[in-house]
């Protein structure tokens, strides 16, 4: 598109400089500052001098280990079993706090599984970080496609010629204009386990058969509940983007498909979907970015609980940096998150590149 023949170095920089300068000063510079902090032992509040510690923060956060626990045996070599006949194992802490195993010092149990009579335990030097990482990835993996799909469904639904369809468009878009903090506050009432609105509506719809569930209090449903709410809040925005894409597909293509006698599914598969390619890429990128930054919902609704089931990376970065005054640890998470998302978006770009 750009004029290939003319160089306009001075004008080009002049146009780009205000934007680039501001981004450099207020995003890039602080980010490098944060990177610098991640190489030190800086505290948020402390009279102690800051020391350069190299990659120690990264080691302390990323360190993993695998140990095998042998069941305890009595003098005769028989496995000691409890009342239920389950073998007894030594506590993990006897290893992580023992001088015999300096490599596991300070680690904790992330998860474990049995194999035969032994138990394999995955140790992490920072269990909460790994849980936050796993939750964040799970959140992105589920929310990105589901939200994109729901948004497409809604777009198809309101891409009809009906009287008053604009009103529905505006209604579906409404949650987007409400702050996520406000939305999270409201949904705490909805998800309440004792007499929340969701429970009472489900009870009403099932004629009382539904007993009620503590959505945010159960580790199995807390993250899914937050996913559902997040999708609810943001889906209207992506719906509009899909809608835009739909409206650019030439009607003549549909006419051609009708002449060929294509079914509804075939119309979607061979006309609509290929026409939405660019839109799909845009939506996927935007949703992925937003999903990785998951913070406000957690902060307002669950504080990372129950049992770390809703810990996320940005929440942990903030919790450490501010709550625990460990600004270098918080910065370390930021840098890891940046590298992670960068890698993923490079892969995404490679996967969705235009094949020639």
């Amino acid at each position: 598109m750009a004029s290939k023949l003319t160089q306009s170095n001075r004008a080009g920089w002049a146009f780009a400089l205000p934007g680039f300068g501001l981004i450099a000063a207020f995003i890039i510079l602080p980010f490098f500052f944060a990177f610098g902090l991640s190489l030190t032992d800086q505290r948020l509040v402390s009279p102690n001098a800051t020391q350069f510690v190299g990659l120690e923060n990264y080691r302390d956060m990323l360190g993993l280990g695998l140990v095998t626990l042998e069941p305890e045996r009595d003098e005769a070599g028989e496995i000691v079993r409890d009342e239920d006949g389950l073998p007894q194992y030594p506590r993990v802490r006897t290893i992580t706090r023992s001088d015999e195993y300096p490599q596991y010092s300070g680690m904790g149990e992330w998860f474990s599984w049995s194999s035969g009579d032994t138990v394999k335990v995955v140790l992490a030097s920072d269990v909460v970080f790994w849980r936050a990482l796993a939750n964040t990835l799970l959140f992105v993996l589920i929310v990105a496609p589901v939200q994109a799909a729901c948004a497409l469904g809604l777009a198809l639904l309101i891409n009809q010629r009906l009287r008053g369809i604009n009103v529905f468009r505006a209604l579906y878009f409404m949650p987007v204009v409400v702050s996520i903090v406000v939305v999270s506050l409201l949904w705490r009432f909805i998800y309440d386990g004792r007499d929340g609105l969701l429970n009472s509506m489900l009870g009403f719809l099932s004629f009382g058969a539904f007993e009620g569930h503590d959505w945010l209090g159960d580790p199995a449903t807390a993250l899914p509940a937050i996913m559902a709410m997040s999708i609810w809040q943001a889906v209207g925005f992506h719906m509009v983007i899909w809608l835009a894409g739909l409206q650019t597909i030439s009607p003549t293509l549909y006419e051609a498909a009708d002449i060929e006698g294509a079914s509804k599914w075939q119309r979607f598969r061979y006309v609509t979907w290929p026409g939405l390619r660019n839109t799909a890429v845009l939506i996927l990128i935007v949703i992925t970015m937003q999903a990785f930054a998951l913070f406000a919902q957690i902060d307002v609704m669950t504080n990372g609980g129950p049992l770390d089931s809703t810990q996320t990376l940005v929440f942990q970065a903030v919790e450490r940096g501010y709550g625990r005054q460990d600004i270098s640890g918080g910065s370390t998470i930021s840098v890891v998150l940046f590298l992670l998302v960068l890698t993923i978006s490079l892969i995404q770009r490679w996967l969705t590149r235009e094949r020639k």
């Binding site: 598109m1 750009a2 004029s3 003319t6 160089q7 306009s8 170095n9 001075r10 920089w13 002049a14 146009f15 780009a16 205000p18 680039f20 501001l22 981004i23 000063a25 207020f26 980010f31 500052f33 944060a34 809604l154 309101i158 009809q160 009906l162 529905f168 468009r169 505006a170 579906y172 949650p175 987007v176 204009v177 409400v178 702050s179 903090v181 939305v183 506050l185 409201l186 309440d192 929340g196 609105l197 009472s200 009403f204 983007i241 809608l243 835009a244 650019t248 660019n278 839109t279 845009l282 970015m289 990785f292 913070f295 970065a317 940096g321 918080g330 910065s331 940046f338 998302v341 960068l342």
Partner: protein, 293 residues
């Protein structure tokens, strides 16, 4: 979902379509209806109603008391004005600065262009929460030359809430995508006729950019209006506080939920108004983004 119905039964088909549209609309509107309805109820009733469908209905003792008390508790008008001011100025400057940069990236050839663009796009993935403290340290030491002479810090000002937020990767990205789709011949023709870059930007490209301006403006508006962490740490004077920091005034040891709902309803109104004004252009905007140039 229509397949089960006889195609010739138009009336019924239409009814079903509307029914589906309305049911889906209920999912999106009910929680917000809960907010608005609750703002008119006394606390005890509000909290009791959350266990039934009454939460969505204007029933019981309806009163404006919550609104009155909210105004007593916090300078609501001041907070809304601050937010609207900061948001408005930022949106305006962001549209200019980011579109200028995008113009340079799309239409001009200059050394370093691709590298700079890649760097800007990479900043898309830096969550603000993670750079807040370093940024605080920077702005607290920045000098400023203003009408009252030289100042040594940016803390406790409007500018500290505005300037760092003017340029961002997403807005530049939106403009770049849009400009790429405009017919390049227009620009070439203007160049041949001897128009300057500034003229091309202002007379040729920007008049065609209405749709993307609306999109970018709404996104930026939402981002700015909902600012919380940043103003919290850089503003220590009530006179500069925005609405989301103001929300904290309502979380006392003895939280008055009715007042919170009233406050939330009030601060949502400006955003809704802004959206409705721009809605037409907004939907048209995104619609045109799919057009490949």
């Amino acid at each position: 979902m229509m397949a089960v119905l006889a195609p010739e039964n138009h009336g019924l088909r239409l009814a079903v379509r509307y029914l589906v549209l309305i049911l889906v609309a209920a999912i999106f509107v009910l929680p917000l209806l809960f907010m608005v309805m609750s703002s008119f109820k006394p606390d005890a009733q509000l909290l009791n109603d959350t266990s039934s469908l009454r939460a969505f209905l204007p029933v019981g003792d309806l009163t404006l008391e919550n609104y009155r008390e909210a105004f007593d508790r916090a300078p609501v008008r001041l907070f809304v004005l601050n937010s609207v001011l900061v948001t408005g100025v930022t949106v305006l400057l962001a549209l200019i600065v980011c579109s200028l940069a995008a113009f340079a990236f799309v239409y001009m050839n200059w050394r370093g262009r691709d590298v700079v663009l890649s760097i800007i796009l990479a900043t898309l993935i830096v969550p603000f929460e993670t750079i807040a403290i370093p940024l605080l340290l920077i702005v607290s030491k920045l000098p400023w030359i203003g009408l009252d002479g030289i100042e040594t810090t940016w803390l406790n000002t409007y500018r500290v809430q505005i300037i760092p937020w003017i340029a961002d990767g997403l807005t530049v990205f939106l403009f770049v995508q849009y400009f790429k789709d405009l017919p390049g011949e227009l620009i070439e023709a203007a160049r041949v006729e001897g128009a300057s870059w500034v003229q091309i930007y202002w007379r040729v490209v920007m008049p065609l950019a209405g749709p993307v301006i609306a999109t970018a403006a709404i996104l930026k508006f939402l981002l700015m209006y909902n600012q919380y962490l940043w103003p919290l740490i850089v503003v220590q004077q009530e006179q500069y506080r925005p609405v989301m920091v103001g929300l904290q005034y309502f979380f006392q040891l003895d939280t008055a939920w009715g007042e919170i709902m009233a406050y939330l309803t009030m601060i949502t109104v400006p955003v809704l108004a802004f959206y409705l004004v721009l809605q037409r252009a907004f939907i048209a905007s995104i619609a045109s983004q799919g057009v490949k140039g």
